[in-house]
Symmetry: C2
Subunit: 376 residues, 2 copies
């Protein structure tokens, strides 16, 4: 049996393992946490992400190693790469780990980005804001996700508290862009350089966390899709990339600005499990193992709704015709992604009706929790 | 986490486990064989199917127990049922384990069946053939599958060798029916008595083994679907059935004759993983756990092709656009089901074209094997 090593045993590792199994591929995850979501469907190596022995056991006999999150220690990947192929490669990882490097790559490839400046101290932040304007957002260069390590600045008086809020670390300040919507392009590149693209996804965030996605993005034009694919193609080729790459984009009029990229399977691609011919998870497995890539076509409008903080009634969700429920086996916690629901519609209208039913079940849960807190 | 016990850890147990995982359900399989197909994605209890300690461990803390094959020892199920709910129930199992009981049930429910007689010895077999005519098929009452325990009779001279071939065991003799095609209806009944039906499947057997299925069956009329659903509904209700039930049917003109039933997920339902909104595996899990049943609609014509005896090139299969490859992790052996491929088409013509590509890859493998044997 082919073994695929995965650094990280969260829900992405879990869904990779579920997609790998039918291909005769067993995932082996490296995960220090107890009872990780991937455990029921993968072999687990319980060790820190940078533990040399754990990494060696992860690589032992594996056809390749990949990762489910981009903040993998670079030293760990360097060590692994001497033992087994690691995809995506070190350059992709290093680029995605540093927001300034990432933006520099976009710029170098002629990809439009929002006005931004790298800042190393409060003085530079002030200068940056004078150049790019206000409001703006300040983000640490490294280790940010789901809205963490970020601060919003509305006036120059926010400079000092914002700098403190992000921990006075090397950062990037970006102008707020008046965009129509947030989109993402999921792309896949094989070991042979072949590429495939999923249709653009429309994403809705709240408090920096993805709440729901719709694919293909409503009112998607061929021109917009081509623009997104051209952006992804340049990044994939520049990084000699292998695997799934997600790029988050802002749509401003008819133009796309690149916001950030994730060198891995991505929450905005979960809809592909039911909505596309080949899921992002299967295509990532195929890509990193050097197998032919699968078709990315989508037959019907599809929506993905995240289940965040607390799980609503699974019974009620399953009673909604066509609702596909995915729970990850994680303990509830404020702001934590515990699962998602996917729905396919005969039309965007039909999809909206179905989504409203799911949102009602979720809202009832929120109300229930609020009631429980009041009662306590 | 909810635990679902499954007697049997073969490919059906494996696909049940893969379908259960997203619902937050972990399958625990009872399987004496080493490295069973379900092992990478389920908890395995390595014990015989009738081992009391193994059965107790299977039931411990499980929300319910089900099985992946119908030849489960009745005593095992009786013992289990005292510990945890077992679905489908003892009556369904007993009926499906005995071809004569099964046919008697069909008859009692007013369901048309081919001419048949129960036979206990050679004399009865001769009388049976005189009544139902020749050619006919002789099958053991119990423990037959994939064409095993069967013999064909073309003249009365075949009585003695046929009787010997099936091991001189209690049997059933059935007239050969001039049917247009073999179909199957996959139905699901929940613990609350709710039922759903998949569209009729057209099945193609060779040497008693299912080779490929097409769903919905080409030229399927509403009348034929209704006739099949009425048959299944009567059986489901008569047995107070819970779970997926497959009934194999012969189409003779516009009439359906019931051939046999399987009280479990079924090979002719594998197409539902990609071809239907909810797979047979997920619906079986939902049913036996008392969850609402999922939608059974099918958006596009879908074909399932079994990979038998030897695996063809997985690379070549994956290179066929839209081919979904499922390998079970079993060692190759003549006549053994090692995996399957599912394809969806925009039309039956498109589907046929895609199937031809898969069949070419399979045929090349057969040729390769023949060459290897000649060389040896």
């Amino acid at each position: 049996m082919t073994i695929l090593g995965v650094i990280g045993g969260g829900q992405l590792g879990r869904m990779l393992a579920l997609a790998a199994a039918p291909l005769g591929v067993r995932c082996r995850v490296l995960e220090p946490g107890a009872n990780p979501p991937a455990a029921p469907v993968a072999e687990v190596i319980g060790a820190d992400y940078d533990d040399p022995d754990g990494l060696a056991r992860l690589a032992h006999g594996a056809a390749a190693v990949t990762f489910e999150f981009e903040n993998v220690p670079a030293a760990a990947v360097d060590g692994l790469a001497r033992l087994t192929p690691v995809f995506p490669g070190a350059l992709a990882l290093a680029t995605a780990q540093d927001r300034v490097m990432e933006k520099a790559l976009f710029r170098q490839l002629g990809i439009a980005i929002p006005p931004m400046r790298a800042v190393e101290d409060q003085g530079e932040l002030t200068s940056a804001l004078e150049a790019i304007g206000l409001p703006a957002v300040l983000k640490t260069r490294r280790l940010g996700y789901d809205g963490k390590g970020q601060a919003v600045l509305r006036s120059l008086e926010d400079v000092e508290p914002a700098w403190r809020a992000i921990g006075a670390a090397p950062a990037i300040s970006e102008a707020f862009v008046e965009f129509q919507r947030e989109l993402s392009i999921l792309s896949v590149r094989g070991r042979d350089g072949a590429t495939v693209f999923y249709p653009l996804v429309e994403n809705h965030h709240h408090d920096g966390i993805l709440r729901h996605s719709i694919a293909p993005a409503p009112n998607l034009t061929i021109a917009l899709q081509q623009q997104a694919e051209a952006i992804a193609q340049r990044v994939l080729d520049a990084l000699d990339y292998v695997g799934v790459l997600a790029i988050e984009l802002f749509q401003v009029g008819d133009t796309l600005l690149a916001n950030e990229m994730a060198p891995r399977v991505h929450n905005s691609g979960h809809w592909t499990i039911e909505g596309a011919t080949t899921s992002q998870f299967e295509n990532h497995v195929r890509a990193v193992l050097g197998l032919p890539l699968g078709a990315t076509d989508c037959q019907r409008p599809t929506a993905m709704i995240n289940l965040i903080g607390a799980l609503p009634s699974i019974d009620r969700l399953l009673a909604i015709p066509g609702a596909h429920v995915h729970v990850y086996g994680k303990a509830p916690r404020l702001g934590r992604k515990l699962g998602h629901v996917t729905l396919c519609g005969d039309s965007y209208g039909d999809l909206q009706t179905k989504c409203a039913r799911v949102q009602t079940v979720i809202a009832d849960q929120v109300e229930l929790n609020a009631g429980a807190h009041q009662g306590a």
